[in-house]
Symmetry: C2
Subunit: 413 residues, 2 copies
């Protein structure tokens, strides 16, 4: 089955907005085993939109249009699609009621007149409720083809896609698909791939797809079957085999769980508290932890000691250590982690020091990073030589620090 995306919005053509919806939808379509050959972006212009939709309908089975469902005169995706398919627009009582409820929830008394336009629905269309806005999603079916209209804001589009559109597309297929995401840290992409060469060579159903992320590798195991139960049965032994091969390197098999969430959860289960002692990353590790709601149970404080003086004063790194070995050294990383835990009374402390560039420091090369983890009277230290620019080196360091922290806890368990 062939699917095609059309993103509608002048803001995309002006470069004011990055088209993250296209990447999101494309990934989901790939997961569904749909073939996607074209993405098109057009402005809020009836002629060009209508032309793009006709071209797409000629060559694809499903066309997903995003954007242009707002309440203003400029928004004409629904009107244009209805015209191309020869459908009348009729007011949908259910959608009208939902718009009323949405504004009531916002404590807005007078609903702007133009919002009622959003209650108009092409005749025969399936309505997908919008949990986070006023524009409903719409599915129109005609001559065995489907045209799907989705609102542009990602906060509205994504939940709607997961709840209604993904299952709809899954039902269109002769078989349904089911997948599990296995997330791996502490191993590079090529190491992961060589570990599963045989599985990839032999694969047919389920399949295993590899995604390299910064400091992580994700494996998606996808099965096709007549129903979900059957598909789950196919996926299960493969996930088990991956768990056997990668062991503790797998930090989750839940698509929605991030590495920082997994680490926070692990510390929470063990009732451990955490401190960060950062130089190089200057607060990035701390902010990554505090991205997670409820992190405060585990993460109580972080110290950013960017200067040597701060390393001495806040973390009591010895003057002689800084003088003899430098701020970017195994010894400094160790003292930062050890003293960080001691001073704050935390059970675990992770420290980072390194050279992000662009300039070298202490006659040491850009990309040299030391990180240490203090836990259970033991200090583990690692040395890295990262490549890339300042941002890349810092970003990779954050992920490797989370990984080191996780490994140190697991080793002692």
């Amino acid at each position: 089955m062939v699917v095609e995306l059309i993103s509608v919005g002048t803001e995309l053509l002006l470069g004011n907005t990055v088209n993250t919806n296209a990447a999101y939808l494309s990934e989901k379509c790939a997961l569904l085993g749909l073939s996607l050959y074209y993405q098109t972006v057009v402005g809020d212009n009836e002629d060009r939109l209508s032309g793009a939709l006709k071209t797409a309908l000629d060559r694809s089975d499903v066309v997903i249009l995003t954007g242009g469902l707002g309440p203003t005169q400029d928004d004409l995706t629904k009107e244009t699609a209805a015209k191309v398919l020869g459908k009348k627009l009729l007011e949908d009582a259910h959608t009208r009621k939902r718009i009323e409820e949405y504004f009531a929830g916002l404590k807005v008394k007078t609903i702007p007149e133009n919002n009622w336009k959003q209650a108009l629905v092409p005749e025969g269309a399936i309505v997908a409720d919008n949990q986070n806005g006023t524009a409903p999603g719409l599915i129109m079916e005609e001559n065995g083809k489907s045209v799907i209209l989705l609102p542009g804001p990602p906060g509205e589009l994504k939940p709607m896609f997961e709840k209604d559109i993904f299952p709809y597309l899954n039902r269109l297929r002769p078989e349904i698909i089911y997948s599990v995401m296995v997330k791996i840290c502490g191993m590079g992409e090529s190491a992961v791939e060589s570990e599963i060469q045989d599985l990839i060579r032999e694969q047919s159903n389920p399949t295993i797809a590899t995604y390299a992320k910064v400091g992580e590798v994700h494996l998606r195991v996808t099965a096709k079957a007549a129903d979900e139960k059957e598909a789950k049965k196919l996926v299960k032994p493969v996930v088990k085999e991956l768990q056997k091969r990668f062991g503790n390197h797998i930090y989750t098999t839940d698509e929605h769980v991030t590495l920082e969430q997994a680490v926070i959860q692990m510390l929470r289960e063990r009732e451990l508290t955490l401190t960060t002692a950062e130089s190089l990353t200057g607060g990035m590790v701390a902010s990554r932890f505090t991205d997670v709601p409820g992190a405060s149970e585990v993460f109580r404080q972080g110290l950013v000691t960017y200067s040597n003086r701060a390393k001495r004063k806040l973390l009591e790194v010895k003057k002689s250590t800084l003088k003899d070995y430098g701020a970017v050294s195994e010894k400094t990383a160790k003292e930062m982690a050890k003293n960080g835990a001691f001073i704050t009374g935390a059970d675990v402390c992770i420290s980072l020091t390194g050279i992000a560039g662009p300039a070298t420091e202490e006659d040491k090369p850009v990309g040299l990073v030391y990180m240490a983890c203090s836990y259970n009277n033991k200090i583990t230290v690692q040395e890295f030589h990262f490549s890339g620019d300042r941002a890349k080196i810092r970003e990779t360091s954050v992920v490797m620090a989370l990984t080191l922290l996780r490994e140190c806890i697991l080793e002692e368990a």
Copy 2:
């Protein structure tokens, strides 16, 4: 003049990569006053790419293709474009030499055989050197139309576009354009727009375009003229007028300078040192400062006091303050800023405390944020009620903290 973008790459169709190049190039084309009606994404497939290019050439004057210039067999953008335009591929001695030099710079002795494919150039094409890789940019002209091929990696594409392609497109126009970006903080979009309503109403050349960013508003002043000198002369009085109207709210008129860079620069000029005391943002403000190379001159340390205990122990916030007013209060923000400066010996300390959600705390609403700045024996505190999700509230808080810090320094100057 009409321009069109074609992004080539199966990774875009699989959703593995977000198409940031399209946004970047679209913004630049808008700046050049070019009309852009379509963006298309196709995979590394000769038939579909060739079809997309022919369609684009029918309706546009300039077609920019990105991606698919790599050394592998899969990369066929150049080969396909040359075929569509009926051009032979010939080895370019200059490009061959540059590839040799590139690998020499990497200390690679043996150049992979397939890289020589990248030295082949369509006959008559203009070559744009790649400063950061081996695939050159190529400009092919035919029947008054231009086809421009650019490498896909943004780190190669952007510098090449700025250096060679932007000037090329500027020369194609009957007039050249020149623009200045005026960056404003501490004012909302509608306040900015109402301040310049008259200028926008009367505008013809130069024009003023508004871009709303998180916590900032950018105004681009663009003039068209016969030459750059003339265009600069047109832009100058408008920028001056904006400076008169917005005064200190303008933190830079340099497109490449960020708010954190401007603040660091300001502190550096005044020889002031800075500390952060963060609860809500958990290290994001510190990491924003340390994004800037050389920040260590100014920013020596940051304290992330996420728990009440950490606020007491690390920042000596009074127990009674936390008990009587709560962690999210004007009084706590003030003590954090005051004590943060005192304890670390920094000249300036910015503090943040608030509720990012999703859960309310201390019976206070999500989005309530207090921030304080201690400088010169004076503490300025601000209360905010932000909307949006956890990430949005934290991100907006960071920018408002930078803005508050900047205002406090400027007031005392």
